[in-house]
């Protein structure tokens, strides 16, 4: 972990059960370390993630939301990358209204053997979120 201060950003990952989950599992299997503040919710398809869940995650104290998508490998829909993109745009517009930094959401295609890429995405995202600071501070600033 490259975080220099004691702040360890909490990241919620939405993954997909057929493709990105096995990739994330493989990172564990190979004991590739990433931040223990990463929590994963598995979905059938990344296009099924509701923006309200993303907003709920910020309100509950998650500093960032990462969408581990199937990209063009999605077994449900060829238009999955576009649809996932749409819902992220939707979430970002809601974030903007709430004064939440749009960098707090990220998406990348994580394949079924993408163990290292997943871990390095988590390291990078943790670093970016450390620079931005905690969501709590951001929401408090907005409120005050």
């Amino acid at each position: 972990m490259s975080t220099t201060n004691s702040f360890q950003p909490k990241i919620l990952v939405f993954s997909t059960d057929k493709i990105s989950d096995p990739g994330i599992d493989q990172a564990g299997l190979r004991k590739i370390h990433y931040s223990p503040s990463v929590y994963v919710i598995s979905m059938p398809c990344s296009s099924g993630i509701k923006p309200r869940w993303i907003m709920h995650a910020y309100r509950q104290g998650f500093d960032g939301v990462f969408i581990a998508a199937d990209g063009h490998e999605c077994s449900y829909s060829a238009s999955c990358p576009d649809r996932t993109n749409d819902l992220i745009n939707h979430a970002q517009s809601m974030m903007k209204e709430q004064g939440i930094n749009p960098k707090r959401i990220r998406m990348a295609a994580i394949c079924s053997v993408c163990a290292e890429p997943f871990a390095s995405h988590m390291d990078n995202f943790s670093r970016i979120l450390s620079e931005i600071g905690s969501i709590q501070a951001e929401l408090n600033n907005k409120a005050s």
């Binding site: 564990g28 223990p36 060829a78």
Partner: protein
Amino acid sequence: MKQRIGVYICHCGGNISDYVDVEELGKMLAEETGVVISKDVMFACADSNQKQMVSDIEEHKLDAIVVASCSPKLHLHTFRGVAERAKLNPSNYVQVNIREQCSWPHSDNKKEASIKAVGLIRAGIKRVSHSESLENIEIPVVKAALVIGAGVAGMRAAIDLARMGNQVYLIEKEAQTGGRVAQAGSLFMSGQSGSELTGRLQEEIRRHSGITVFTRATVEKVSGSLGNFHVGVSIGTGDNDEKLSLNVGSVLVATGMDSYQPKENEYAYGSSKRIVTLPDFDRMVKEQGELVVDGKKVRQVGFIYCVGNRQKKGENKYCSRFCCSAAIHTSLKIKEKYGDVTAWHLFRDIRTYGKQEILYEKSSKQGDIYIRWDEKEPPLVEAAGDQVLVKVKDYLTSKEEIEIPLDLVVLVTGAVAREDSRSIADVFKIPIGSDRFFNEIHPKLKPVETVIKGVYIGGSCQGPRNITESVESSLSAAAKMNALLGGGTISLDPVVARVNSEACTWCGKCAEVCDYDAIRQIEFQGKQVAVVNNATCAGCGICAPVCPPDAIELAQFTNLEIESMIDGFMEKVEMREKQQESTTENEEAPAVTMKEYPQLWKEIEEALASGPMNIPDLSKQINKSSDLVTWHLMTMNKYGIVVPDGMDESDTYFNYKMKN
């Protein structure tokens, strides 16, 4: 809301408990709302624990269970089975992955791993507390199949479907069955002709009473869904077309491909009788006793490869794969049949994969000439009297330009999607790729399934294939179809979308994004609302985020379930003071439990001193449960104290012995 939840936290032979304080977690989580029992177990998946879970569910009247262990990929079905055996609905079971997604990736930070595990399990408890008892969706099926296209792939699938006891309708657009293969000359490797091969299949179809063949028949419309399709078919060519409706449970589309037709003047095609395509040439070889064009004997034949395929700029980016082998096979045939013919192969790359490499080797040995060109500088072809002049830059030497006078030029054309594929795709709503072939759901995991449940694709309508590959895919589809049709009913996964009709205001957005055509508009209490067809819904949930009033959701992925999981992750975790100390201590110790059980290890050591032993015998000998013995033996194995020593006499269990 579930009020009687059972929680099981697995040690997994140290894989989890070496890094996560599972014993403490077991105690902590017993205090969660709704939790009736919370246990740490040695191996959750062990037979003895599964039995214990069944009796716990019955004894404590549990209404939901959570198992925190390995990835659901490994044991989701194991514990769903446990639930079923205890008459608990399997949807009231949640598996939490605290191994691949906690103890292993965070093995460098035991304290944080334990804290994370608490969050993960709390999320699981909260999720299961909102779980509903879902029943599989049962759909009756018509035990009949429709196969569209009576080429080699369609005919072969029809025969197998009929052999498996299904009524089969086989429809063919042309006047005769057999398709493209029926026109082919002798085939690699058997040497039999295409018509001999299709003849055998035609004969078998004639003999089988379960197959009804319609020729000059096309599909006009389709209604219904998985298990009960109504397919409108038109038979005939003129005004007196006969219309009929076929009622089938499943459909196989095996409409095949077309051969690429060179454009006017592509390699001077059309300017001379001496420039032909490979399928045309193959027919000439099949039919002509002497190889003569326009009264002149052919002695020099040139094959130009990759015509209409692998186009950097054109539409057909793909490689058809079979054409290299087909061209080389034809060049071997002409040598064999006509003797004194020189074959020039002007190629980009040779792709005679698998056994077809034999052809390439044979051709090279018999003196065929291979010249490699590059797509930047394709060969120039010009008809000149009773010859064709080909200029080509030889990339295997010094890119020197060679001029070859030939008697015949064969354009090795690859496959293209059939021109009428679009109309079939529209009728069945099968997606078409940018290459205009039909798209499967997933090229590796669901290679013959389409997004329309019950509709399969096989053979070369899906992409360029040789005969073997075409038959393989259509038979794979036939097996899938029989699995659907065999039982009279189909049991479908209950994870489908559902609409809250009160909240729905019908805007059509959900139907718009659904690739499966599973959402329709109906009238409900005087207003228009969306309704989901359970038989066709794929359970992807794509419809849920696009609904403006949030009136559609996927079972098991409801707002309550997902948002409560997020709450569970984030609840404050306070590891008990005493426990924190012991966690710190453990960081230096190689194994969590080593110091606690020296007596048992001693007993195992003493028992094994008399010779190798299996676990049941060992547990009898030292009078400890086999669970406990397994757990410690596996740990001893992990640290190299004991080692497996082959199977026991009954060939059922492993024996173990001391390492030294």
